[in-house]
């Protein structure tokens, strides 16, 4: 997997968190990425064709990010359930 700088890590985190970014927003975040590898990761995350053509370590990084996003959805469901339980009590 790719090792990102602290800056690029935070940008990538933001990029994958908010999948409904506008195209302009996505481009802004991609432009914020400083290292070429981070940019490849960001592009492959957003574009399945670029993902298919990417090197193994880039794809592994994107896979990890996808797993993280899915895991966050699971956590969100649990968080909302806790909130509803707290509201009822």
């Amino acid at each position: 997997m790719v090792r990102l700088t602290p800056h690029d890590s935070s940008v990538i985190t933001a990029l994958v968190q908010h999948t409904s970014h506008s195209d302009e927003g996505k481009k802004e975040l991609l432009d914020e990425l400083q290292s070429p590898e981070a940019r490849l990761v960001g592009e492959a995350f957003l574009d399945s064709q670029k993902y298919a053509a990417a090197a193994d370590h880039i794809r592994a990084t994107v896979d990890y990010l996808q797993a993280w996003v899915e895991n966050n959805k699971r956590l969100r469901v649990k968080r909302e359930a806790r909130g509803q339980a707290a509201a009822r009590s």
Binding site: M1, R3, A86
Partner: protein, 531 residues
């Protein structure tokens, strides 16, 4: 008698544009910091909360307060999303509340305490801004696109503050993970935002994806297993740079890179065999060199994070280094220097048996670089914001303790070069302080070598107590290395509880507390020769 500072003058110091433009700060963290700073400066929140909630006894009460502030916060958030805050906030009555504050600008600061409508307005603005900022700390999945979070996280990433208009040289706004549930300070007034004085230590807020499961397994490696007195030495020219009774010392790390890496790999394999998964490996203060850290990282599985104390002795040309490095699956090394040098006094020279290399009749300052003080908050999942501290940094209130209390990271890891981590010793006391307020879970870890070097003045030593755990719910837990074991794997589970602000708002039961849920001794594979 000198002119008294007015409310307006005080607020202009924080938000300079109020000098000419007194409109409501429509960015919630700005409004939060502005109003909370006034409540804090005057201490008047204690006066306000003496008679709380507003409307008590006339049929409104706390439920009305909390629901109205929550609704106002949600409305604010939606308005920001639509990029129409000035238009929509007038509907919610927020502008009327702001008007009360605006009209008080010419009044002396000393009048705040006795101005109940103003105090209520300030609390209203603090509460609504806080509610509008829900979820700003951890990388939560918020479902629909949320432009507030996108912008807020952009500010955190670039400037390490959520503030937009307020002067970052005066005040920084950071996310909050815990609200203290005891005592009454300005920190008791918010769930999602915290205010920090912009001091000498700079906060950094990093986000990195880390797969949070229902538990987190950590391998604690109390390396080195042996520390030699001769690794401590006097810095050659220290006598000419300090008064007669003082000196500088430095600590030299030993080599053996290949042995160390093989040892940790072996421990990781064994921990993995026992637990099925190891999420992170932690080593104490001054455990490894920078090269050893990189070697370890390259050999550990990519999904495993690594936190370790890194050091190097002074070289004559430059001071030694003492820092923590944190590496996560997708994150290169994050480096944080120690904030305070260690001072060895006579009692400690005796305790660690260093009299042969450092005179007990002098006091010895650690000759390390303590410039560019930073504190990294690393947001790795929605339940885990963590930070790491090195030894003295856990005990000293300045420059970062107040920042930690303000943010309330879920997990604080303290890397120590210290004696046994028993309940009676200093680390347990300071861990308890952070567990009580704001509610952090604290792990301290020392090396077996240093722990064995330590000899108490009286009574038996317990050198194999190499780590200590403290959280809000359980008593202090000593973590002892059984004989013939080299490391300990611990499991952390997340417990959720509802936290409340002093004005009565709850967080929906989503405050996350890592708790210690398993301790497993780990032995490295022994070669036939070592057996």
């Amino acid at each position: 008698m000198p002119d008294q500072l007015t409310i307006g003058e005080f607020l202009i110091g924080i938000l300079p544009r109020l000098r000419s433009d007194t409109r409501l700060p429509s960015w919630p963290p700005d409004c939060f910091a502005l109003c909370l700073a006034l409540l804090k400066q005057t201490g008047s929140y204690s006066q306000l909360l003496q008679d709380w909630p507003p409307g008590r006894g006339i049929g409104q009460g706390l439920a009305h307060w909390t629901s109205s502030v929550h609704a106002l916060g949600e409305q604010w958030r939606r308005a920001l999303h639509r990029n129409r805050p000035s238009e929509e906030l007038s509907v919610g009555g927020l502008l009327n509340v702001w008007q009360i504050l605006r009209e008080s600008f010419p009044q002396p600061l000393s009048t705040v305490e006795n101005n109940t409508p103003l105090l209520q307005a300030l609390m209203h603005l603090v509460g609504a801004a806080d509610e509008a900022s829900a979820g700003v700390g951890a990388p939560e999945d918020m479902g629909d696109n949320d432009s507030f979070l996108q912008r807020a996280r952009g500010f955190l990433r670039k400037d390490a503050t959520l503030g937009l208009e307020i002067d970052p040289a005066r005040v920084k706004v950071l996310p909050r993970m815990h609200t203290p549930q005891g005592g009454l300070t300005e920190r008791s007034l918010s769930l999602y935002l915290s205010m920090c004085d912009a001091g000498e230590a700079a906060p950094c807020w990093l986000s990195t994806p880390f797969l949070q499961r229902d538990s987190v397994n950590l391998l604690l490696v109390p390396w080195p297993l042996e520390v030699l007195a001769k690794q401590f030495r006097e810095v050659p020219d220290s006598a000419t740079r300090l008064p007669a009774d003082f000196g500088f010392f430095t600590y030299d790390l030993l080599g053996g890179d290949a042995e160390l890496i093989a040892f940790v790999e072996s421990l990781h394999r064994e921990a993995h065999r026992k637990l099925g998964r190891v999420d992170g490996v932690i080593l104490p203060e001054l455990a490894v060199t920078a090269g050893q850290f990189r070697g370890l990282r390259d050999r550990l599985p990519q999904e495993c994070f690594l936190v370790a104390g890194i050091g190097s002795g002074e070289t004559g040309a430059q001071r030694g280094t003492n820092e923590v490095r944190l590496a996560f699956p997708l994150l290169a090394e994050v480096i944080q220097k120690k904030h305070h040098p260690w001072k060895l006094d006579e009692a400690q020279v005796m305790q660690y048996g260093l009299g042969g290399v450092l005179s007990p009749y002098r006091e010895w300052w650690e000759h390390c670089d303590v410039t560019r003080r930073r504190l990294n908050f690393i947001s790795i999942s929605e339940d885990l914001v963590m930070c790491a501290l090195i030894c003295e940094d856990l005990a000293r209130p300045d420059p970062v303790a107040n920042m930690i209390r303000a943010v309330g990271p879920n997990l604080v890891i303290a890397l120590l070069m210290d004696g046994p981590q028993t309940k009676e010793r200093w680390a347990a006391r300071y861990a308890t302080v952070l567990a009580d307020d704001p509610g952090c879970s604290v792990l301290s870890l020392t090396s077996l070598g240093m722990s064995q070097l330590s000899r108490p003045g009286s009574g038996p030593s317990r050198p194999r107590v190499v780590a200590l755990w403290k959280d809000r719910f359980q008593g202090t837990r000593e973590i002892e290395l059984p004989a013939a074991c080299d490391a300990v794997a611990i499991s952390l589970s997340i417990r959720y509880r509802q936290e409340f602000t002093a004005d009565g708002r709850g967080d929906g039961g989503n405050a996350a507390f890592p708790i210690l849920s398993g301790v497993h001794p780990i032995a490295a594979a022994r070669t036939a020769e070592s057996r």
